[in-house]
Symmetry: D2
Subunit: 406 residues, 4 copies
């Protein structure tokens, strides 16, 4: 016989977003029970619904666990308390039991009022400043004395609504990732989303791997840059090094991109390309000194497209522009993507997962890779706004670009 | 303003199986609207729920389309009519507008009573015999004069319940297919399901591809047969031919299974193995004549394990036992698997999809393949009872077998 | 101390095709030894080379095994005997020790003269007719009394030369299959090879899977047919059924190809499409009766492109045009592809491997699939003339087609 | 008519290692021609061969290009000059035209004598010290004034011999990477190689990704450590964090490893695990303070197994032990692996490619991953000593471990 109870409320598109059944199922699976005290279901697609549910459990520990879980689905406690804070005692270490964020918009109850948490980002804690503002914080941000939210009392999240009508391909994503999707329709949808993002005045971020260059897709990226559809490039040393190798000697990892044939001693080419840029002092200098006159990196410099190159353990060189400390690179990137409207992630698991972890749930995300398992992993990060495409980089870009021809 | 309405009912675990929200969402997406006339939600895990919903649409065509769709989810019309029948006019051709089955248990309303449809199987029509019994039928079964259900009036399906508690790995399958699952736990769960099926007195069907032999897993299958855990084998010419090649000369496609090394002229080995069996007249004869003394096919003969070998366009030979007409092979197999309790599908997309299409939704299905895309395709066939494992055949079988050691 | 010896000769591009070192290595690995009696190495690329090698082994059995193996590389015995023949004693069964063919041009020594073996095809035997002509034969061709070559005395093969200069992408294939190749260059090379095949007056065969339709690539195939670049289509029931489903109702497996969205009850669409064609009596009749007015199959009928649809165990229906007996389908196809100049294999492992096994080694083969493992398996079938492309069907075809625009 | 000539020599197993034909083919492909002045071919397997070849080209540029290419195959110039040196003018930048190393043992001719280059490693330059010793150097090592080899005069490499007899699976690797290999035989071969490495007194390095933990394979690694078969672990933050998560709360990325079921709020677990270790100050401290009592990292501390954890852009946390600067991590690792006898690379493309780039060509390398494309990429790095296995981590380790049971 349950002795502990708590009343929670659910608001929004809780039926068609499956929020209500997931919450009820979660309660039952966790050995609780429930009574629906009130339910109002909207009967048009744009209507929201409402449910008030009494959650019951045999003891307080079970009840607390249930509440923690269903809060992530958007359940709000009817009689919510203020959030509990604890001070950081050691730089870079959270207090015991700190609240770990999702990528949803989150609110903290302080002095009886709900304060929005700035910079929603998953797997962070929440620092509450002296002025009562709240923001996400990662380990590296924590200073002794910071006040951090502990437990999940006084915290609520705003679940994602259904995708707004007409988002098209982003809705379609609900099914399993597969190569056997209608690619023309999906690529058209991605082009529309890029144009919509541009019209909303938001940033388009390209997160790209070296296969863009290896497959011969660099010229399509250059065209997108020239047309103003890329605002920020996030990549590693490899994309930039092979792009510059291709610009200087026509090969990518030693394979001639125009001819498709390996060249003699081609494996050395990217090492020599890196050396040439190091001699100049950096990519911008290589452009300014006339060494680098084509390719993606050249286009970034010429068209003022910001870029972040993050180091990785397998880098050759690296190029002088590469940020070799990964935590510095991560923070640099996190700041630049915070207001992105669309992230186009092409052929890089490493950087795509990194960026996926930084983005709020509502940012449109497009993931393109030839490996379905990678597309699944990156696209399946808790957003209604992701579209995953199992495709081949160069032919994909070739087809995408056709939508941006004048 | 909707002018056409119909009242439908939903019964069962409609909340946690997500049936109710899917039905409501479907109505809205199809430009209908609804009013919930009554709803009772069970508040323990084993309780069922009930909803009575008035569906509304602007015209009859939209209403009909909505009803067809939500009936597949298990919605029943409150005032259901008898099913409409039409006669087959041409052998092997269904009447216009015939009802196409799902893999769920289905009922047809005839003379005011609901008759169960025998042999639930997807993508069939329903023949109603003169004695009022109903059964699924494929194109090849149809004779001129047969009475077939048309439209979906008077048809209802019984949606799957949640998996019963403790099914373990079969529940877990709800998440995306991935290689990065806890394999020990999943393999233990598969072993438990095999033992449970045995205890229920139901058949275990092995659907297998030649990679079982190529990877060296044949001896594990032999052990499972010897221990009585395989009742029926469904495969193609390739599995049998390479198994016999391995039994006769120790290679599979010319690669020595014990040494891992290719042998001289090894590519000929399977051709010679097929020839040797053809000379005997068949696999059973090859065993009886003392030619074949080990391997999977030998074990099948010795332990009275039934097998069906279906021909494919890429077959060498084939072995005399192979059914070269695919429709005959399909029907042969369909009859044998109808009462299976568990299908273990290993490393064959072709045969696994074929069998998956034959099985009722409640049959336990285990899909093992090294390609995640194939596991997704096979496992994702509308059942709560499938577990998909992205794994390597021989090491998987090696680990599975440990649960069957005495 | 070796007591058995035999002298063999090698002719042709035995250095750059790696024939000579492979032969020498094979002798050593098989516990033989050798002495090079004479060697002349051409010192320009077009020059051929020559080697005469005395092979030595400890006993006759080892020597025989060595000779069998190196003959497949093109080694000819200096003092070759006539081929030994044995009569077939049982329909469909080869005599013990029959010679198993490769896909290379083969010659049989009869009465002191070398007769070419007609229809080179791998994994066959060789029947010598009463008029002294020799031809490959599969199990199903054998009649009691036929004379078949046994052993490998009196048999020699003509190894493939290096690809002729300028074959481009077909040369490049020597490296491992990878998605990270310069796709633009490869696709351009495939277009050139198709045009060259057309100019040589040879057939282009399309071997295709249903992903062509699912991904929205059917319209590109229609365009290739209209431009006269497809002479023969080899596929299964699925490609044709989904193509016709798309032509009739705009979906492929229920997914709208133009919109990218699943349709209500869409899973039924291909069943209804098959039924509609069955009612007409076949695909040609469906076109003639005005039912079928677009898509790949319609284009085949309209433009007199021959097609073979082979049944498989997972077929729904099937369409009336499908050959349900796989051995009949195989023989039908084998006859039609015998004189093909280029085989374009797209997104079907089953049919591609089947066709690959039928083709002589010198036929140009292009394999396109999103799964690298399948491309490797199909492309790696003993030919210098294969190019494998890990790519996405619709975008690949979209880019390929651009080379055929006027 | 060629006017420029140079005489080169080839020594060793130049026939069966295919060195000679590759060299001759390279000359012809590069528009040169040749004359074989002398050739002696060993006629037993252990005998070496010798060829002296006059290379001819139309001009000096072509000749130089040819010589550069064939030197990588092991061709030595008959009349070799001393290596040419140039001084570094800018820290971290090589002189124009610097010699780029392979992973083969390399020699530099200085004062008429051949000096071995220390620490063979690919994609480096060669610094010659004042005392006449030569060593590989990467960008970060270069100081103004260092003398670096430029051009390829006076440089020769020692090509790899065939694998010594009995290396077994390492020989077998010559064929394409495929999942359809005899796994039992390959795993037995890997176990033998690990034991042989141990007997030679050389290090075994484990390069591992988090899928080891996700799939439940951590306990097998712990057993290998306890038995003394791992000397050095190279991984990222993820492997260590999920290993510690599993040790502390039984989950990996929130999935219970024993049960196979996702846990409530499980996504937070690795964040809390990282926080707990940060509070302790590091992994060793977490063991010493009694927090960490099981798992891979615990076993490393307890059994004095050295480890290097390299940061990556997608890291959460990270753990205090992680080296966040990738170039520092790379150099740390390069020093530790220099004398490794065997590298066991499991389920991590990033770290495996990094380590592959550091190792000399003769180090035994075992690559295990469920993705064939990754196995191909890592295993195909110019060594005769690599074996690639497309397999599933936990079942692979389970089967491997059986060879180390007492």
């Amino acid at each position: 016989m349950p002795v502990e109870t708590e009343v929670v409320e659910l608001h929004g598109h809780i039926i068609d977003s499956l929020t209500l059944p997931k919450v009820l199922d979660q309660i039952l699976k966790s050995d609780g029970s429930f009574e629906i005290e009130e339910m109002r279901i909207g009967n048009r697609r744009e209507d929201t619904s409402y449910a008030r549910i009494r959650v019951e459990a045999a003891d307080q520990a079970v009840l607390t666990s249930i509440l923690s879980t269903i809060k992530v689905q958007g359940a709000e406690m009817l009689h919510e308390k203020d959030a509990e804070l604890a001070a950081v005692e050691q730089d870079g270490v959270f207090p015991e039991g700190f609240y770990v964020t999702t990528n949803l918009q989150t609110f903290v109850r302080l002095g009886g009022r709900w304060a929005p948490v700035q910079r929603p980002r998953m797997d962070c804690g929440i620092i509450v400043a002296d002025d009562g503002t709240a923001r996400t914080a990662r380990f590296g941000h924590l200073k002794r004395g910071d006040n951090v939210v502990v437990g999940d009392a006084g915290v609520k999240v705003q679940p994602l609504d259904r995708p707004v009508a007409g988002r098209g391909v982003f809705e379609f994503m609900s099914s399993a990732v597969s190569a056997e999707k209608p690619k023309g329709a999906l690529i058209a949808g991605i082009a529309r989303a890029m144009k919509a993002t541009r019209e909303e005045g938001k940033k388009i971020v390209l997160v790209g791997g070296p296969a863009i260059v290896h497959t011969g897709g660099a010229r399509h990226i250059v065209a997108l840059i020239e047309k103003g559809y890329i605002d920020l490039l996030f990549a590693g040393n490899a994309l930039a090094a092979h792009d510059i190798e291709a610009a200087l000697v026509g090969t990518s990892l030693g394979v001639n991109i125009e001819e498709g044939t390996p060249s003699n001693e081609g494996h050395e080419n990217h090492i020599r390309a890196i050396n040439a840029v190091r001699r100049c002092g950096g990519i911008r200098q290589a452009v300014e000194q006339g060494l680098l006159t084509s390719g993606i990196m050249h286009a970034c410099i010429k068209h003022d497209v910001d870029f972040v190159l993050a180091g990785s353990i397998r880098d050759d060189g690296p190029l002088p522009d590469v940020i070799t400390d990964v935590i510095v690179a991560q923070e640099t990137m996190a700041q630049k993507v915070a207001d992105a409207g669309l992230a186009l992630m092409i052929a890089t698991g490493l950087h795509s997962i990194a960026v996926g972890n930084m983005l709020p749930a509502e940012t449109r995300t497009v993931v393109v890779d030839i490996e379905a398992s990678l597309v699944t992993k990156v696209a399946d990060r808790g957003t209604h706004q992701a579209v995953g495409l199992v495709s081949d980089v160069e032919p994909f870009l070739n087809e995408l670009l056709a939508y941006f021809r004048d």
